[in-house]
């Protein structure tokens, strides 16, 4: 699918077809996309995930995971959960990874990179090696790096024609249920499945005004939004009809009937 279509179609899907499994190759493609996303802090070894699949993972594990997700109905409906995590021990491989990048000439001496530079400057400097600094900053940067990868995973799911959403759960319970060591933190849980609602899910979600988010040259001076660019993105499918679509109320009632939910 065109990138702009993928961005435009993505929205949080909250109703899934529980009866329809997700092809294993699609799950792999989602994970492959996340793996290739930027890891600008060279956090390659911290971004890990545990996948829970209905009918494959033991049912008691899946059930406990759904409960740790506050038993939200969509967590129950979705056949696949990708539990994204941060493995803080992955930072210990930073030096090896940097030397690898030097060796393949992604990092070059032209910009001052050398094995000695890694050892004398990078490794002892918290801005470049989070383990050298305070734990809070290390976790903060790790969360940012995790967000980069998970964002790609969301888009990849849409590219595969699937619905997806991120859920927050009880982290300590999730860790226990999936047997994670204590240096691993679950970040967010991505649910994946075929949507039971229409893929539009009622329309593209509202966002704050473009010009209140983006500035030019200085904080507070709006970056002017060109309406012709907006029109072009509309025609390319990135900017879509905003929620609510006129038939959304009926759709929600129909979904409630399907799943026996209150309206």
């Amino acid at each position: 699918m065109e990138f702009k279509q993928v961005v435009g179609r993505r929205r949080s899907i909250r109703y899934y077809q529980p009866w329809r499994p997700v092809e294993r190759e699609k799950i792999q493609k989602i994970l492959e996309a996340a793996r290739l996303q930027s890891q600008h802090g060279n956090a390659s070894d911290i971004r890990k995930a545990v996948v829970v699949i209905k009918g494959e993972t033991p049912e008691d594990v899946r059930k406990a995971l759904v409960e740790a997700l506050y038993s939200q109905p969509q967590a129950e409906q979705a056949p696949v959960h990708i539990v994204w995590t941060i493995d803080m021990s992955g930072w210990e491989k930073l030096r090896d990874r940097l030397l690898e990048l030097l060796k393949v000439r992604a990092l070059t001496p032209s910009y001052g990179w050398s094995e000695q530079f890694v050892d004398t400057v990078v490794m002892p400097t918290p801005d470049f090696n989070v383990l050298a600094g305070d734990r809070t900053f290390a976790e903060w940067l790790s969360a940012f790096e995790s967000g980069l990868a998970v964002g790609s995973a969301l888009l990849a799911a849409v590219d595969e024609g699937l619905g997806t959403q991120l859920l927050t759960g009880k982290r300590e319970e999730i860790r226990k249920v999936l047997g994670m060591p204590e240096y691993v933190t679950p970040t967010q849980v991505q649910i994946v499945g075929y949507p039971a609602e229409s893929p539009e899910a009622g329309g593209q979600r509202p966002r704050p005004d473009f010009e209140s988010l983006y500035f030019s040259g200085k904080w507070g001076v709006s970056f002017k939004r060109d309406p012709r660019v907006v029109e072009q993105l509309q025609s390319e499918g990135m900017i879509q009809t905003p929620a609510p679509l006129p038939w959304r109320a009926q759709e929600v009632r129909a979904l409630a009937a399907t799943f026996g939910l209150p309206e």
Partner: protein, 116 residues
């Protein structure tokens, strides 16, 4: 009898929690609204509490924890199944009560449809 029933209904609608629930029903036809409010009144009588009392005792605002969730989940299930009909018809009765709690800010566990 008509007068008395109306007075009772009016008093029932006066509860703050009922008003909150009713506000979300405005888009429904008059008959459907009345049916749902009737079911709520029936449930309220069954558990012997006013609507405000039900909401009050469900959740402890001081500790931010549910207090009588199991109790209400059980009574809702009882309320559902005491009427005849299909699972969907019975479940609808229970969901009216769940919706009442939702409108007032709280969730009662759901029952999954038999096909799921």
């Amino acid at each position: 009898m008509t007068d008395a029933a109306e007075t009772t209904a009016t008093a029932f609608y006066d509860f703050e929690t009922v008003q909150r629930y009713a506000a979300g029903l405005e888009e429904l036809p008059e008959q459907e609204r009345a049916q749902r409010l009737g079911l709520l009144q029936e449930f309220s009588a069954m558990v012997g509490r006013t609507p405000d009392e039900m909401v009050d005792e469900l959740f402890d605002k001081a500790t931010h924890k549910y207090r009588k969730r199991g109790f209400y989940a059980g009574r809702i299930r009882e309320f559902s199944t005491k009427a005849p009909g299909t699972w969907a018809e019975q479940n609808f009765r229970g969901n009216v009560i769940r919706s009442f709690f939702i409108a007032n800010g709280y969730r009662i566990p759901l029952d999954k449809p038999p096909w799921m």
